[in-house]
Amino acid sequence: MTDAVVSDRAVPVYQTAEFERRLRRRYAAEKRFRLYGIAAIGLALGMLAVLLGSVVAKGYTAFWQHELRLEVFFDPAEIDPQGTRDPAVLAQANYNTLARNALQSVLTDAGSRDARRAAGDLLSVGAAFELGRMVMDDPSLIGTRRVVSLPVSDEVDQLLKGNVSRALPEADRQITDRQLAWIEQLEAKGDLVSRFNTRLFTNGDSREPELAGLKAGLLGSMLTLFVTLVLAVPVGIAAAVYLEEFAPKNRLTDLIEVNINNLAAVPSIVFGLLGLAVFLNFFGMPRSAPLVGGVVLALLVLPTIIIAGRASLKAVPPSIREAALGIGASRLQVVTHHVLPLAMPGIMTGVIIGMAHALGETAPLLMIGMVAFIVDAPSGFTDAATMLPVQIFMWADSPERAFTERTSAAIMVLLGFLIAMNALAVILRKRFERRW
């Protein structure tokens, strides 16, 4: 009996079957854990790919728009019968007629009154405006014949892009059989061309999808974010530096810290209500203005910037502070010469997270009137404006088929804006980064 125990012990403990089993279990657990990690990353990447893929697949066509090449006679009798060339007269002229005359001359059976109207409907409402603008810019066009490119209506564009099937029965589509025949006639002649859709970037919002653009939203976003940046960054950094480096550690500062952390979790619409009550109703600031939007978003992102700023200030090794204090630097010099430059990359990360958050925010803007139909791009901080996410929201709500692809395109533009902003921040951060 005793012998058996002794001989058992003589076998090296780490070579027994029990230990091998344990070792195998440990290896298996480690392998499993790695697999979980890879699976989690794969899942996240997969979701992202599906999301981006569907947005791009739906939206990329919106960057192209079909135009009709048409030889237009700028008829003096129609535009300026008196020959005064008075801009007021030129602005009043009926350019629709010019377009319809031109269409009538290239299409078969387009002579009757209702046929002329149906043919005219192939073109966008904006076509007449564009002809008018050409004449206003250059009155010498009057009396000449020119081949011009005019935008087609959104229904025609959708049909040409294949988003609406030509095989549908006439009652189920907005293009009549007669119009379809004309379209095929023009296609055969090669007069329907697909061009890069510059109107998407140069126009404001419109009820007509083919004319609707993001300029107002883009400019509104830029103006609003500028206000947010100018307000939130200095205030946020100053607050973080004061709380971390100068404030005494007592009940009051603890309370402030807890409140800042809680503020970061307040639903954004509450900030919108605050903006409505304080800035619009109490201070009487203008409705729908980037100024107010910027202030509200600055309040929204302040906690994020303060929290990130404090964390990165805390991460600066205390030995650097001691070194500077030890050779007689004042506390302010310690902060501005040493601690802040070293904390800057982390602070920049906080700022960019905050700004990205602000860029994508919609709910608080709802309360201060920035969910608005804005045709003219804002030219100042107090003009009525909207922002990109709001523009996306409104387009997504529009019934026209063509707005579906434009919504996705607007999302792509928003993401592009975001990536550009992040890239800028990364470049700035690299410049500030130092090793120690």
């Binding site: 030890g326 050779i327 004042s330 120690w436």
Partner: protein, 272 residues
């Protein structure tokens, strides 16, 4: 050139040799509390001009705390409270009229772990003179930097790479850079908190030689755990134990003929 003469002038202004060495800093009944905990229980100690005073004692005995009182680094700790009298050239350094920033320029400090700024070697040394306005123009600053690095015995090793980061140097070089940085603001007293504890024996020997040379121009207070080091570099030694100063005297006497039993126990290695 002007900066050099400044350094020179200050050195000349001090009493040379004399009968009894003048007292540079004086502590009387210094007590320090960290919150409710008392770290120092009434320390009386004289730091003599242009001598090396070593503070020895087991961990947690309060020697670093005492050292940090000498340039008011304890002010930066919220819960620390200092009582008692502490003077520099007879002037109370805890007096309201004393500017703590100026005091720290006069009483420089070298820390346990080398802590160069993440900047170039040149910027590390020039930072102090720059914020105190000790050098007018680039030429003067170059000279201050060169002189400080020479005194710290680092010049020959780094003169060709002054623009490289100070953090790229070896541990011993970094510590000498920190000493050069402290010297650059022309302090009167240099406090060293275990300056060699993170260094290898060769780098340590380097620093010890340097301390011996610096003694000619500066008053030095050094905290060390290494008793041989205390014996090698210091003229006076103070033994701290549990927040009290047990004994102070000439180094030779402390190490050969200590009066207190605790001192004897510590230096012979019975505890500590």
């Amino acid at each position: 050139m002007v900066a050099q003469t400044q350094i020179q002038a200050r050195a000349d202004a001090r009493p040379q040799g004399g009968v009894a060495p003048a007292v540079k800093m004086e502590a009387r009944g210094v007590k320090v509390f960290y919150g409710a905990k008392q770290a120092l229980k009434g320390i009386d100690l004289d730091v003599r001009d242009r001598q090396v005073t070593a503070l020895i004692g087991p961990s947690g005995c309060g020697k670093s705390t005492f050292l940090r009182c000498l340039n008011r680094m304890n002010d930066t700790i919220d819960i620390a409270r200092v009582e008692g009298l502490m003077t520099l050239d007879g002037q109370d350094i805890y007096d309201r009229s004393i500017d703590v920033v100026q005091l720290r320029a006069r009483v420089g400090m070298v820390f346990q772990k080398p802590n160069p700024f993440p900047k170039s070697i040149y910027d590390n040394v020039s930072y102090g003179p720059k914020i105190h306005g000790l050098a007018a123009g680039k030429d003067e600053m170059d000279e201050v930097v060169e002189k400080s690095l020479q005194r710290a015995g680092l010049w020959n090793e780094v003169k060709d790479r002054l623009r490289e980061p100070g953090t790229g140097l070896s541990g011993g070089q970094q510590q000498r850079l920190c000493i050069a940085r402290a010297i650059a603001v022309s302090p009167e007293v240099i406090l060293m908190d275990e300056p060699c504890s993170a260094l290898d024996p060769i780098a340590t020997a380097h620093i010890e030689e340097l301390i011996d040379e610096l003694r000619a121009n500066y008053t030095i207070v050094i905290v060390t755990h290494n008793m041989q080091q205390a014996a090698r570099v210091s003229q006076r030694t103070a033994f701290f134990h549990l927040g009290e100063m047990v004994e102070v005297g000439d180094t030779e006497e402390i190490f050969t003929n200590p009066h207190d039993e605790r001192t004897q126990g510590y230096i012979t290695g019975r505890y500590g």
